[in-house]
């Protein structure tokens, strides 16, 4: 399968996101790919949009099978979540389990007015009644494939598609 260029998809994502930003929007990126996307998005959108980063390691549903992730990063939500319209950003949407964990974590900060999920790629395969409202690209990838967003030293994005080990 040929994946479109990540930078092209990112431009498309920005166009879809622009119209839904309001004064009460806060942008939250999921570590690590979603946080990179959010960082560049914020630079492009300008202004003073509230923003933060989530690392969902403490909320993952596979902790009992796999243990704690080796490299957790602190979640940073430096604004009051209460009554905010949260725009949650991730790179690849797959099973929906990360998003479930992210929503659980967000609610421990407060009760948002709404949460909208925007992703670069929806790769199919969801296992929960959770889906992105915005995605720059939809496809169906086999479970054996691992699609990952990576970042060049200059900050531009690219994908890798590998067989799972």
């Amino acid at each position: 399968m040929n994946l479109p260029d990540a930078e092209t998809l990112f431009k498309g994502l920005i166009e879809q996101i622009k119209p839904i930003i309001t004064a009460d929007t806060a942008i939250v990126g999921i570590h690590s790919g979603g946080a990179w996307l959010a960082e560049r998005l914020l630079a492009i959108l300008g202004g003073d949009i509230e923003n933060g980063i989530l690392d969902v390691s403490f909320y993952r549903d596979d902790y009992n099978q796999r243990g704690l992730h080796n490299e957790t990063k602190p979640s940073q939500i430096p604004f009051d979540v209460k009554d905010k319209h949260i725009l949650l950003i991730d790179d690849v949407f797959y099973t929906g389990r990360t998003i479930r964990a992210a929503m659980n974590e967000l609610f421990d900060y407060g009760r948002p007015a709404s949460i909208t999920l925007a992703v670069l790629v929806n790769r199919g395969g969801r296992e929960l009644p959770i889906a992105p409202q915005i995605s720059a690209f939809n496809t169906e990838l086999e479970a054996s494939k691992n699609l990952q967003l990576l970042r060049h030293p200059d900050g531009t994005f690219y994908f890798t598609l590998e067989e799972n080990k």
Partner: protein
């Protein structure tokens, strides 16, 4: 021999002592603790990692700070927590430690946090328990107090992030101190290049140099240009052994005052594991002064203990 704290594939199964643990695991604990610091500042100060797990705090010896922070840490991880002060319960009726453990295991305990006045108590329990149960040493005799060593290292790293460029002095009763031993192992493993111990000969273990520390008997000399001063509690109960003339005499020679602290670097920080004997090993002006990080140590102790418990329970 394989380290009894590690699984076959090198993961942390019990935390009994810092001695022998690789730097990688210490760093994993400290990095994870970094992520737990922020949890205390949220509306809901809990994460669901240990939901459905039962943590038993078994304190065969008194403690307030350690017991409380372990209890808070377990609760913030959503565990169910039982704290037993065993000196006041079954043991006084003659039950052995392992019988106590077996009974709590029959109640489906998943983790034991153990403090005991006998060195090696936590090791013995770790050897005895079923494979799915984890044991944390919360202080055993003169041997080790690993979470204290880790929280001290975490506190130092927060204020002085470049551990490879530090001079640290540990002052006081090293001989009787499990805290000192754990601090020394933690700091040397994490790459602190110069760890000093400052104490009278009578309060130093034989061969203390073998732990990789520099020995000073003169406090003024030992404090010169250090970045971190770690005070130890003078264990009053040891004074009876006539090891020291008097607490006033001790304060004069080894008590930390502003005047002596001035010999350290101007931005040096002061740690103390508590409980403090004000006017014996530390002057109130220092304990409450701007260089003291004694209360942040307590706060960080919760995050470090959350990190240890959540790493163990997942392995």
């Amino acid at each position: 021999m394989q380290n009894p704290q590690l699984t076959d594939d090198g993961k942390l199964k019990h935390l009994l002592s810092i001695e022998g643990l690789p730097k990688k695991i210490l760093n994993q604990i400290l990095d994870t603790a970094e992520s737990f610091v922020g949890v205390a500042e949220r509306e809901v100060k809990k994460v669901p990692l240990l939901r459905g797990k039962t943590v038993c705090n078994l304190f065969f010896e008194n403690s307030t700070r350690t017991r409380t922070t372990f209890e808070i840490a377990a609760k913030r991880l959503s565990a169910d927590v039982i704290t037993l002060n065993v000196s006041t319960s079954s043991q006084s009726k003659g039950e052995t430690i392992l019988d106590t453990i077996d009974n709590l295991t029959a109640m489906h305990a998943d983790m034991f946090v153990v403090r005991h006045s006998q060195s090696g108590a936590a090791h013995m329990i770790a050897k005895h328990v079923a494979p799915h149960i984890h044991v944390i040493n919360a202080g055993d005799g003169r041997h080790a107090h690993p979470t204290q060593g880790l929280l001290d290292a975490f506190t130092i790293r927060r204020y002085k992030p470049d551990m490879h460029n530090l001079r640290v002095a540990i002052v006081g009763d090293v001989l009787h101190s499990r805290v000192a031993r754990s601090e020394i192992h933690a700091l040397t493993t994490l790459g602190v290049p110069e760890v000093r111990v400052i104490a009278p000969k009578t309060l130093l273990p034989q061969d203390v140099e073998k732990l990789g520390v520099h020995v000073y008997h003169d406090m003024r000399e030992g404090l010169k240009d250090v970045d971190v001063v770690m005070m130890l509690r003078l264990q009053n109960e040891r004074m009876a052994g006539a090891m020291l003339p008097s607490s006033q005499e001790y304060f004069k020679t080894y008590g930390l005052t502003q005047e002596k602290l001035a010999l350290a670097k101007p931005d040096a920080i002061v740690l103390h594991p508590g409980p403090m004997n004000r006017g014996v090993e530390i002057d109130s002006a220092v304990a409450d002064g701007t260089q003291s990080v004694i209360l942040p140590q307590v706060t960080y102790g919760i995050a470090v203990r959350m990190a240890v418990m959540s790493i163990l329970a997942g392995n």
